[in-house]
C-alpha cells in the first residue's frame, strides 16, 4: 500500500469518526483527526485513526441510540465516559426523570406479575399496561411544553384543582364518596392523577396562584372526601413547610391539615376492592413471588427521590416532595382500603406517577454543570471553521 493511500485512508477514517460522533463529541473527532495529521509515519497515522474510530464507536452508537429519547431524558448531554454500559448507567443517573420512567416501567411490570400470579382478570393487566403507555405519552407530550415551564405552573395547579372540585360536586358517588369520573366504562380517579404532580410542582413554585390551587385541592379532598389523598397533601406540605418556611408553604400546610382532619372526622366505609386495596399483606398469602413483586415495585417508586436527593442538592425540595407523595400513597394503602399505587390494579395511579415525573428536573444540577462546559453548536462551528483551515 502506498504512503499516499495510507495517509488518505487515515484521513478517511477520521472523517468517518467525525460523521458518527454526536455534536457534543465533535471536538474530540477533530482532535483525533488533527493528531493523526501530525503523525509523520503514514502507517502509524493510519493505525492511530483506526484505533480511535474503534474506541469511540461504541460511545457514538450509544449516543445515537439514546437520541430518540432525548425529549424524555434531557437533550444535549454527552455520555460521561467508560464502557458503553457504564456510559448509559452514568448518564441515566444524572437524569432524575429518566430514572423515574425506568422505575415506572419496572414497577408496572412487577404489578402485572403480581396480578398474573394472583389470577386477576386479563383485562386488569391490559388496563395497567395501557395506563403506562398513556402516562408516558402524556409525559413525552407535556415534557417540553410551556405548561412544564415555571411561569405556567401556578395556572396549571389552579386548573387541576378546579378539576378536583368538579369531581367532588359532579363525580360518580359510591357510598357517599365522590372521587371518580366515568370515562369509557372505566372509573378514573382524578385525584390520583393530579394531586401528585400538583404537590411535586408546588415544591418548585412559590407564588399566590399555586398556593391558591393547593388550598382549593385540599378543599376538594375534604369534600369528596378522600382521606388517603388528604393525608398525602398534609404529609407532603408538612415536609415542604419544614424545608421552606415561607408564607405560601404555611398557608398550604394549614389547608392540607384541615382537609385531612375533615376526612378523619367522616367515616370511610368503602370496602376493600380485590387486586386494588389491601394487597400489601394479601400478596404474600397468594405467593411469595407475588409479594416480592408488590413490595419490590413499591420500593422502585421511591428510587427517583432517593437518587435525586443524593445526587442533586439544588433540587432536594422537589425530590422530598416526590418521595413524600408516593410514600403517603403507600402508607394509605397499608393503613386503609385505599388503592395500592402502580402495582395494584388501577390506571389512575400509574398515569399520576408518570405525570408527577414532569415536575422532576430532566437533568440533575451536577450534570447541568457538566453540560455547561460542553461547547455549544455555535462555538463548535466557529472552531471547526478554524480547524478546517488548519487541515487544508
Amino acid at each position: 500500500m502506498s504512503a499516499g493511500l495510507r495517509r488518505g485512508l487515515a484521513d478517511l477514517t477520521c472523517r468517518a469518526l467525525q460523521a458518527i460522533l454526536p455534536p457534543s463529541l465533535q471536538s474530540w473527532g477533530w482532535a483525533i483527526r488533527c493528531e493523526t495529521a501530525n503523525i509523520p509515519d503514514d502507517t502509524k497515522a493510519l493505525l492511530f485513526a483506526i484505533q480511535g474510530l474503534c474506541g469511540l464507536m461504541p460511545r457514538a452508537i450509544a449516543s445515537h441510540l439514546l437520541q430518540p429519547f432525548a425529549s424524555l431524558f434531557g437533550e444535549g448531554t454527552p455520555l460521561p465516559g467508560g464502557s458503553t454500559t457504564m456510559s448509559i448507567v452514568q448518564a441515566t443517573m444524572c437524569r432524575p426523570r429518566t430514572i423515574g420512567i425506568a422505575c415506572a416501567i419496572a414497577a408496572v411490570a412487577l404489578g402485572i406479575v403480581y396480578l398474573a400470579i394472583a389470577g386477576a382478570p386479563m383485562r386488569y393487566l391490559g388496563v395497567n399496561a395501557g395506563a403506562l403507555v398513556i402516562g408516558l405519552t402524556m409525559l413525552a407530550l407535556l415534557g417540553g411544553s410551556p405548561a412544564a415551564d415555571q411561569r405556567w405552573m401556578g395556572a396549571a395547579i389552579v386548573a387541576a384543582a378546579g378539576t378536583l372540585l368538579a369531581t367532588a360536586f359532579l363525580g360518580a358517588d359510591v357510598d357517599g364518596a365522590a372521587r371518580w369520573v366515568r370515562l369509557g366504562g372505566l372509573a378514573v380517579q382524578p385525584s390520583l392523577i393530579l394531586v401528585p404532580v400538583m404537590l411535586v410542582a408546588f415544591s418548585r413554585c412559590h407564588d399566590v396562584l399555586a398556593t391558591a390551587g393547593i388550598v382549593a385541592a385540599a378543599a376538594a379532598m375534604a369534600l369528596q372526601p378522600d382521606r388517603a389523598m388528604a393525608g398525602m397533601l398534609a404529609l407532603c406540605l408538612a415536609a415542604r413547610a419544614i424545608t421552606d418556611r415561607d408564607r405560601h408553604a404555611i398557608a398550604a400546610l394549614a389547608a392540607g391539615v384541615a382537609s385531612f382532619a375533615a376526612t378523619l372526622a367522616r367515616a370511610d366505609t368503602l370496602p376493600a376492592t380485590p387486586y386494588v386495596d389491601q394487597i400489601l399483606y394479601s400478596s404474600f398469602q397468594v405467593h411469595g413471588g407475588a409479594g416480592l413483586a408488590v413490595w419490590g415495585g413499591l420500593a422502585l417508586l421511591l428510587l427517583p427521590a432517593v437518587i435525586g436527593w443524593r445526587r442533586d442538592a439544588e433540587n432536594r425540595a422537589t425530590y422530598v416532595a416526590f418521595g413524600m407523595v408516593w410514600l403517603a400513597a403507600m402508607l394509605a394503602a397499608g393503613l386503609g382500603n385505599y388503592p395500592t399505587p402502580i402495582v395494584g390494579y388501577g390506571g389512575s395511579a400509574i398515569i399520576g406517577y408518570a405525570l408527577s415525573l414532569l415536575a422532576l428536573p430532566k437533568l440533575a444540577s451536577a450534570g447541568a454543570s457538566a453540560v455547561s462546559r460542553t461547547p455549544d453548536a455555535t462555538d463548535s462551528t466557529q472552531r471547526d471553521r478554524t480547524l478546517r483551515v488548519g487541515l487544508a
Partner: protein, 103 residues
C-alpha cells in the same frame, strides 16, 4: 455525593504521565506512545477525565506553517490530586520508563 469508579491500570499510567509532565501540555499521540495504549483506549479516557474536571484541554496553533492545530492536555488541580492518589503499579512504571528510553 458523586463517586469516582476504580481507575483502570491504563488510566493510572496516563495520569502518571500527565502528572510527570507537570504544567506542560501533552498531545494525544505522545500520550498513547508513552502509556503504550491505543488511541481507542486513550481518547475515551481523556473525554471522561475532561468531563469530570480532572483534565483541561486546549487547541494549540502550529509553530510551523501548514500544519494543523493540535489538541493538548494537562491535569487540573483536582486531576493532580487524582493522579497522586492513584499511582500506577510498579511494573507499569518500569514498563513505561523502559518504553520511553527506547523511543
Amino acid at each position: 455525593m458523586s463517586r469516582t469508579r476504580a481507575l483502570s491500570p491504563h488510566a493510572r499510567i496516563v495520569l502518571a504521565i500527565l502528572l510527570e509532565a507537570g504544567g506542560r501540555w501533552s498531545h494525544g499521540y505522545e500520550l498513547a506512545r508513552l502509556a503504550d495504549v491505543k488511541s481507542g483506549t486513550l481518547y475515551p479516557l481523556l473525554i471522561r477525565l475532561e468531563a469530570q474536571g480532572y483534565l483541561e484541554a486546549e487547541w494549540q496553533q502550529p509553530v510551523d506553517g501548514g500544519r494543523p492545530p493540535r489538541h493538548a492536555y494537562r491535569l487540573t488541580a483536582t486531576g493532580v490530586q487524582l493522579a497522586q492518589a492513584n499511582p500506577p503499579g510498579d511494573a507499569a512504571i518500569l514498563n513505561s520508563r523502559r518504553r520511553e528510553a527506547t523511543i
